[in-house]
Amino acid sequence: MKRFLPAWLGLPRLDPVLLALLVLIIVFGLVVLYSASGHDTAMVYRQAVRLGVGLLVMLVISQVPPHILRIWTPWLYGIGVIILLATWILGVGRGTQRWLDLGIVRFQPSELMKLAVPMMVAWYLHPRVLPPAWKAVVFALGILLLPTLLIVRQPDLGTALLVAASGVFTLYLAGLRWRTLLGFAGVAAAAAPILWLVMQEYQRDRIRTFLNPEADPLGDGWNIIQSKIAVGSGGITGKGWLNGTQSHLEFIPERHTDFILAVLSEEFGLLGVTLLMLVYLLLIARGLHIASIARDTSSRLLAGSLSLTLFVYVLVNGGMVAGVLPVVGIPLPLISYGGTSAVTLLAGFGILMSIYSHRKFIK
């Protein structure tokens, strides 16, 4: 049937496995959101619309062949960096300058970099022999550090972390020597005290609170303590959907955004958490599989990097909710309420699908 029709009129190029896993997560996420929002159907509807838009974006991107995406990459990256610079310069004097109001849509330029940075690093390494020479490594580091630092300045530690990670993952997958990697780790460790000095006071407080939440149980420690109570009280099978007292009685702050996993853990228990982690793991595994069967360097690196970044989301958010990692603003992918991160994530899956469905067409 496909033969008689032009490709764009045929079945859309999709990965049914990825799609199935994504739909599973999205549906689960909306169910949890309904409870976390306190039966707020309007909020669930808004989120569903956003996810719909995200799925549409995914669908569109998945139809674009990887080599076309590659051609757009420097532009995307360039525009992203310019907007970041613009928000930095224009936003001087203001506290948090994450949003760029485009009139119709409020847009978070740092979100764009979550895709643009791994794309750019992959684009840069694409024509080179791998493992990359040290000059190339230095250059690639430059590509990822420039936007990362701009985002840290905003300040948005969570996004900066994800952007930096996506770049580093690309380099790692490109075969960066273990020695060099360990070197990075050493430099990062050495830079930690400097980072402490650069950090905003509220970010330092978060770290302090993480290290000792009981010091101020009604103030800064509240989030972590209440989140742990929610998770722990859920037990193995959970309190049941809509029965989470910690969330419904408003003990968990940010319960529909960053701490939605606490609600899920309270109501669906260890079983729910395990199921969710399993789906994420399958998504990551599928992503890595797509990467490993990709036919060109940039597709391979990009697909791998996007998959590994998803893991960072899950690990950091999951660790934060369970009180083993500090509170940084990283959402639970596709479940936390909020548009931009969901659209970015789905766009990333669009890229993965594009790579998957175009694997047989080597340019």
Partner: protein, 632 residues
């Protein structure tokens, strides 16, 4: 910008793919391990630490709210309600729901009188509440205020009129010195109560019966388990355990008798205590002036309190329990009995009264109240005419130590043990007391005046009444009781409370007691009795003894002239009595401050009180007999 370059070495896609797969494999292993570690953390939280967190979640969610029990009611002996809980309304505001509280208060004051004091105390109490709590603005609204507010309720979002029970004392000042009153719990109250049972309680007994019987009256607080959200707002009631209302109390006070005594006192400050000698129950306990206890039940302002504190006649002072008066001649029956029982005199012993008494070897005169003296007297006529000389001699013969020891049996110098707080012990002097407290030897002259109840001796009206009750019932000294019966909520029948017997006065010869009681009978019914006035038109026979307590110590040569002494230095008038003489059903002590001689002011008060009691007692229970054998 870096562009594609033809000079680059040929890329080996196959090698790169292998390199990638190796890296991706390592990464995936790391991911799986990390995810398992993370999951391990969830297992720890949700399985191993589950119980702890489940408890903490539950205590987050559920809070316990106390439910205040209804306070027990108080009745008098005849079943009149003397302390009740009246449904009242208070104005409350929920600050969270109001944008401009000052403006709201201004508008409200058009309907409900809000004083500057109300607004100030509202501002103060607001700080102890949370924003969504309902904060009381004004208590005890009038019916008109409630009605006006109800009509205009729609205009006042966040304000409401809330019903509650407030303590009300229908007889006001008449019974304040018996019942006392309730007031707002303060820090001292919290320290002496069971905190758990008082968590919901706003009012506590401050003095009187309300305080003494607090545990009975209060009841047991109930609780509500309520679900609250993170900001503490109550969402629903999960479980409710109703409070157990306090026990209703029946006091032995008869309001009619109390009222009669109160009215008879007129404008005089003083006290009347009447006791049923058969069981030690207190029939009347009046201290005048009184004050309205209802002011305290709604929270009294400092200003109003100061006004009572400074009022003439010191209304806060409970004269019946705390007033220490010299007993004067009212002590004579007891001195006389001591003399008879200890064998110092007999009923026939005669003493000549010439108007003055001297201790051998001293030249200070001790006078009779009758300048010329009373002539030859025995104990009977000495009591009848209140002959000082007889008792001067008797006191000297007894000696102060024997007087002390004998009178102590009647409860002089010690607390009676009545069931209200705050009674004073009075003072029964002895050689030992004087050495210890005053560090001085005892002088014979002090013994002489002790014989007529002057000097160091101090008694409370309650002590005096109880001593008389003991004297007329044959020596059974009870700890007087105001509590007559209790009635637990839900019980049909009430439980009678009996006064405990403190001691049995030693008795050598019942005849001696009879002699003294006959002497007291002669005071009222004798030809020369000092209180003959009160025998007129009586349906029953009264016996008594007048007394005059010096307030101002005269010099030996001075003569007391009432008209020359300022009102507040005039003598106190005392009178003790019992009736009917044949089988006493009431023993009474009356003190009229600065009333002068006992017979003139105090005796009629006693008569009025006795009438109020006996007229109904005789009608209701004519057959009641004395149970104790050796009464008069």
């Amino acid at each position: 910008m870096i562009a594609y370059s033809k000079e680059h070495p040929i890329k080996e896609q196959r090698d790169e793919q292998r390199l990638f797969q190796h890296r991706a494999g390592v990464a995936f292993i790391v991911i799986v391990v990390s995810m398992l570690a993370l999951l391990g953390r969830y297992v720890w939280l949700q399985v191993f630490a589950h119980e702890n967190f489940a408890t903490r979640s539950e205590s987050n969610r559920v809070s316990i709210r106390p439910v205040e029990p209804n306070r027990g009611l108080i009745y008098d002996r005849r079943g009149r309600v003397i302390a009740e809980n009246r449904p009242t309304y208070r104005l409350e505001i929920v600050p969270e729901k109001v944008e401009d509280i000052e403006a709201l208060l201004d508008e409200l004051s058009e309907l409900i009188a809000l004083s500057e004091y109300d607004r100030k105390s509202f501002a103060k109490s607001r700080r102890h509440f949370r924003e969504f709590d309902s904060v009381p603005v004004k208590f005890n609204l009038s019916e008109q205020e409630v009605a006006r507010f109800s009509v205009n309720r729609h205009r006042f979002d966040g304000a409401d009129v809330v019903p509650y029970l407030s303590r009300y004392y229908p007889y006001g000042e008449l019974l304040t010195h018996v019942i006392g009153y309730v007031g707002r719990l303060d820090a001292a109250d919290i320290a002496r109560t069971d905190a758990g049972n008082y968590r919901g309680t706003r009012m506590i007994g401050k003095i009187g019966i309300e305080r003494f019987q607090e545990t009975k009256l209060h009841g047991t607080s109930g609780f509500e388990r309520v679900e609250t959200n993170a900001s503490g707002r109550v969402l629903r009631v999960l479980e409710r355990q109703d409070a157990v209302p306090g026990t209703d109390l029946v006091l032995s006070i008869d309001v009619a008798v109390q009222q009669a005594a109160w009215d008879a006192l007129g404008e005089w400050p003083g006290a009347v205590v009447a006791i049923d000698p058969l069981d030690g129950s207190v029939i009347a306990l009046v201290s005048k002036p009184g004050y309205d206890p209802n002011m305290f039940a709604h929270g009294i302002s400092q200003q109003a309190y100061n006004k009572i504190l400074d009022a003439p006649g010191r209304p806060l002072f409970n004269r019946a329990l705390q007033g220490g008066y010299m007993p004067g001649s009212t002590i004579k029956p007891f001195i006389g009995l001591a003399g008879l029982e200890l064998g110092v005199v007999t009923a026939q012993t005669r003493v000549f009264s010439n108007g003055t008494f001297y201790i051998e070897g001293y030249d200070r005169p001790y006078r009779d109240w009758k300048e010329s003296g009373h002539g030859w007297v025995t104990i009977g006529s000495a009591l009848e005419q209140s002959v000082n000389t007889y008792f001067y001699q008797l006191a000297m013969d007894l000696g102060i130590d024997r007087i002390h020891d004998y009178l102590a049996q009647f409860g002089f110098g010690s607390a009676t043990g009545i069931d209200v707080p705050g009674e004073s012990k009075g003072l029964l002097p002895s050689r030992e007391w004087k050495r210890k407290i005053q560090d001085e030897p005892w002088y014979p002259g002090e013994t002489v005046i002790a014989g007529i109840g002057q000097g160091f001796n101090l008694v409370t009206p309650l002590q005096l009444a109880n001593a008389v009750a003991t004297l007329v019932n044959g020596g059974n000294r009870y700890a007087p009781r105001l509590l007559y019966a209790t009635k637990q909520a839900g019980d049909e029948r009430s439980q009678r409370v009996r006064a405990p017997l403190v001691l049995q006065v030693s008795k050598k010869d019942p005849q001696n007691w009879q002699v003294v009681l006959e002497g007291m009978d002669r005071v009222v019914n004798g030809r020369r009795g000092t209180a003959r006035v009160i025998a007129v038109d009586s349906r029953y026979r009264v016996a008594g003894k007048t007394g005059t307590a010096q307030v101002y110590q005269l010099g030996t040569a001075e003569k007391y002239e009432a008209s020359e002494v300022a009102q507040d230095l005039r003598d106190h008038a005392l009178f003790v009595a019992f009736a009917p003489v044949e089988s006493p059903r009431i023993a009474i002590a009356v003190v009229v401050e600065h009333g002068g001689a006992g017979s003139r002011v105090a005796a009629p008060v006693a008569r009025a009180t006795l009438d109020a009691w006996l007229d109904q007692e005789i009608e209701q229970k004519p057959e009641r007999e004395i149970e104790q054998g050796s009464g008069p």
